[in-house]
Symmetry: C2
Subunit: 404 residues, 2 copies
């Protein structure tokens, strides 16, 4: 039954190229044989799970306030642009409610001619859309901005994930309800115990927002808003209201707790900026990065990471290995999608000396990611929101990588 040339193969020759010095001589043949099981493997199953040997995980910390938890996506362990739903970052203000899809409804009311209620099955009758979008908490990298740089990609930028979302354009529902002339804002409210709510300007509500029920092909996960959430492309995570159960059309923002006491940007003069919705262009190298080691010694490595912009497509990512003195264009994985993560890569020959790795991106508006010094000069050290500064990883001569 097996391919019988197996027995006639020649042993690998000694490999002289350092790049591929991967166990020379007969080691390959031996290893190859020893991985073949002699017995039939496991059977089929209805819903699969990952290998028990795989340990990539969100970082779980107990919060001092019940229900106000957050976990971060392990960016250093991921490939491509899709975040596995099981590893999508979490941010809850009253825990994850247990909602029965069959009973859940969305109320659309206020300054509309025709108030409406939608069951989840009702939503399925409207024309749907699927789009790959990132969601980033505006607190992502808050430690960096406050002068407290984080030691690895997960801690530094893990409040970022990217999924294929499916749902109905919010504009479709608003048009069906027929907006009154004075309708200028939509207040979206979640069905968690705190009724988390945010105000959205009508221009954005009629643009690209999705009332989403699908995530990466299946139903949205409980932590991401099951059975339905808003996806507000490119805007701070908090406004992507989860467990959506109400859309209130009004003429002015509701000034909810999460747009006044929180999610405002405290400036050096003590005043706070409000309604700073857009997540600006940002990138981070995820490998090699803090907490990792260049285990092969001097030689070739792949530098890879992720870039994203709430204003559209990533146009360019540059990588520096000398702390920003010189820059080289990285390759962008295609297709480059608007308001989605873009994977970048650059082959790098490590000479075995100390190095400082940085990435900086430019989006299609021409905006370029700033240094942390430039950002602090404007924003001071009192805010923990909307940090999009360049992140630096130090490579030591022994190959270990740390944060600066």
């Amino acid at each position: 039954m097996c391919y019988d040339a197996f027995n006639s193969m020649k042993a690998p020759k000694q490999n002289r190229r350092r790049f591929l010095a991967l166990g020379a001589g007969l080691a390959g043949l031996t290893a190859c044989k020893k991985t073949v099981p002699s017995e039939i493997g496991a059977g089929v199953r209805a819903y699969g799970e990952r290998s028990p040997l795989e340990k990539a995980a969100r970082d779980v910390k107990e919060s001092i306030t019940p229900g106000t938890g957050a976990t971060r996506t392990p960016l250093q362990d991921l490939d491509g642009i899709i975040t596995p739903s099981s590893l999508h970052f979490e941010r809850h203000h009253a825990g994850v409610p247990s909602i029965d899809r069959a009973k859940h409804e969305i109320l659309l009311h206020g300054m509309v001619e025709q108030p409406m209620v939608f069951t989840m099955d009702d939503l399925r009758r409207f024309p749907s859309v699927s789009r790959i979008y990132f969601i980033e908490c505006s607190g992502n990298g808050g430690g960096e901005l406050a002068g407290n740089p984080q030691p690895d990609p997960q801690k530094a930028a893990g409040l970022l994930s990217c999924s294929e979302w499916t749902g109905v354009p919010l504009s479709t529902l608003l048009k069906a309800a027929r907006l009154k002339p004075e309708a200028k804002w939509v207040v979206a409210e979640g069905a968690d115990a705190c009724l988390m709510a945010r105000s959205i300007p009508m221009e954005k509500a009629l643009d690209d927002i999705l009332v989403a029920y699908g995530q990466n092909g299946e139903a949205i996960r409980p932590e991401q808003g099951y059975p339905v959430r808003l996806v507000v492309p490119g805007w701070e995570g908090n406004i992507n209201v989860k467990w959506l159960h109400r859309l209130h059309v009004v003429d002015q923002p509701a000034m909810t707790r999460d747009e006044t006491a929180h999610y405002t940007d405290l400036m050096p003069d003590g005043k706070a900026q409000m309604f700073t919705f857009v997540m600006e262009a940002k990138s981070i190298i995820t490998r090699p990065a803090g907490g990792q080691k260049l285990a092969y010694g001097p030689g070739p490595y792949e530098v890879t990471g992720v870039a994203w912009s709430g204003k559209g497509k990533i146009q360019r990512v540059e990588v520096s290995v000398d702390n920003g003195q010189t820059w080289t264009d990285a390759e962008l994985q295609t297709p480059v999608l608007s308001k989605a993560i873009t994977r970048f890569r650059l082959p790098w020959q490590w000479a075995g000396k100390a190095a400082a790795l940085q990435s900086r991106c430019t989006d299609e508006t021409g905006y370029t990611q700033p240094t942390i010094e430039a950002l602090n000069a404007v924003r001071g050290y009192r805010s923990t929101y909307h940090c999009n500064a360049i992140k630096t990883w130090h490579v030591k001569e022994d190959g270990s990588v740390t944060h600066v």
Copy 2:
């Protein structure tokens, strides 16, 4: 803490539009309130799971031969183009081996100047690529071809899934090993107990094949080849060798069991076609489809489904509701990617009468999906491979949908 306009809202008015008759009067307000929990919800967790209320599943059947199982993706339950890894179809010839990533190696040898062995960490040093590709078993829809049409999308076409795969181009490894002039084929062998192997022409091996370790952002799932598999874009599933542990470069095909006794196309004259690799353009409507019901009675529904071609991009999908007499162009979800699933959609006003729903796609080569009659006229009824015929769903006057 909650958005206090909640108490001042007006009750929804009576809704007169049939399309949106969703529980009129005060029902919405009542329902809205009743879904709000009064207690803090569940906490954060390291690796998420779907809602326990969600039941989409692969169909598990015991096989009479141990280890030779298959399960199908529940296409009717999915959105977008990404198949959740937990629901990717399975096809095993000796069960799912349990492989330790840390010990697994790939041997590359034969007609090369430099035989090589790669550990999984070694592969990580090469320039990587992420691409969204479908994989379809060539037996998908075999019942249809043999005159035994299947009752729902999962049974009719569920040996089809689509993932974002990450890995190293096979061409990179072959070039590193330096091919000898006589090298014309690569035999890929899996580390399952049957050492499942297939021969790949060198032209394809040097084109777009990936030696893939990532699936939808994380490590490839055990059923899909953990820790490493071939992804052979557009070609029949069986040649996308899983649990890859050997690449043997040779001058002629190895004539393995799975390219002689199986995965050949038996023609009406009793002769079999071999090495029919490409999966040709195909589509299927997944909603409304067999096993479902148009539960709202006459009125608007969304017709949606998936199309794909092993030869490149889908250029056009047409939908018929009258058994192929007239056709209307469906909308294609963008971006349309080469050798990936393309989602199509068409709003449909059901008049409450019997209807016959079909989709047919055309790919960028100009090839159009055939009728089952046209396919049977050429291929007969003895083969169960490479069926890409148009699938018909019958809608009855009571709204129930069945296969023909």
